[in-house]
């Protein structure tokens, strides 16, 4: 038997008909009667239905409070700027007042000196 014939024999043995074990047909029929097992589907648990809106509510609240805080700080800054501007105007007013009082004082001294 040459090498070619040996390989042919091996192939023939591998492809030869084999009888199924006893009860094969019954087992197949039994499986058909079994309810179909569906593939596992990711199901949302009960807490996720509560957590999702809760998280959304918290997020909205945080954003809302942040916006209110931002507005409050902005208003305070504006108020502060106005107050500082008013104080600056008062400073200017006092500067002018003082300069005129000093002018009058100087003239009074000069007049007295001449007398």
């Amino acid at each position: 038997m040459n090498e070619f014939q040996r390989e042919e024999e091996l192939l023939r043995q591998g492809l030869r008909r084999r009888e199924p074990r006893d009860g094969f047909a019954n087992r197949v029929l039994a499986r058909l009667d079994e309810p179909k097992r569906s593939a596992p589907v990711a199901q949302a648990s009960w807490w996720s239905w509560i957590m999702a809106p809760a998280m959304a509510a918290v997020l909205i609240a945080v954003l809302g409070l942040g916006a209110l805080q931002y507005q409050r700080v902005g208003r305070e800054r504006q108020q502060r700027a106005k107050a500082e501007q008013a104080l600056g105007q008062f400073a200017r007013a006092m500067e002018i007042t003082a300069s005129k009082l000093e002018l009058a004082q100087t003239r009074v001294f000069r007049t007295r000196g001449q007398q």
Binding site: G88, Q89, F90, R92, M94, E95, T97, L103, A104, T111
Partner: protein, 192 residues
């Protein structure tokens, strides 16, 4: 001397009047003619706003607060001209004529060449008083009206505290009293 003038002013402020609102519209035309001008109008509200940023921690801030708190209003108009003759006597008279009348007392008038400075005191029926200064200089025209106690010493002190825009020592959340030498200390040094 300043204290003496202050006492003189307080002593003179004993008359009662009605209205201390002065119409300065005659001077509106100077806004475009003047080289420099300052128009300041502070109402009780703006004065209150100004005190809101002053600190109580600093002596200077507290003093300023006390001075401003007593005031009911401040009106300033000053026009500085590039040349002489930018205004006429009639322009000055338009304001001066409003200063007379019941409640007004001229306690100082200084004429020196072309310069003329007048200081008036006024007191309203409700008891509030004030100080008005009308200064006509060759190149400058100034009107100052302080509604409130005409305490010159306090006004001069306030001016000194705020001189040069030095607000750091008196603002509520900036600087600290220790960083800025108090004006009282400076006064003491001057006296010594």
């Amino acid at each position: 001397m300043r204290k003496a003038i202050g006492l003189c002013v307080l002593a003179a402020a004993t008359v009662f009047g009605q209205n201390q609102n002065i119409d300065l519209s005659a001077w509106d035309k100077f806004a475009s003619k003047a080289k420099e001008s300052s128009v300041v109008t502070l109402t009780p509200e703006t004065l209150g706003l100004a005190t809101s940023v002053l600190t109580d921690d600093s002596g200077d801030g507290k003093q300023l607060k006390d001075v401003i708190a007593k005031l009911k209003g401040v009106t300033i108009r000053t026009y500085e001209f590039a040349e002489k003759g930018a205004y006429t006597k009639a322009d000055v008279e338009a304001v001066r004529k409003q200063l007379g009348g019941p409640g007004w007392t001229k306690f100082m008038e200084v004429k020196d060449g072309e310069e003329q400075v007048e200081m008036w005191l006024h007191k309203s029926a409700n008891g509030s008083g004030g100080l008005t200064i009308l200064a006509a200089e060759p190149r400058q025209l100034t009107f100052v009206q302080i509604d409130g106690p005409p305490d010159l010493a306090s006004l001069m002190r306030a001016s000194k505290l705020l001189k040069g825009g030095g607000l750091d020592g008196v603002l509520s959340d900036k600087g600290s009293p220790s960083k800025k030498k108090s004006s009282r200390d400076e006064d003491n040094e001057e006296d010594n």
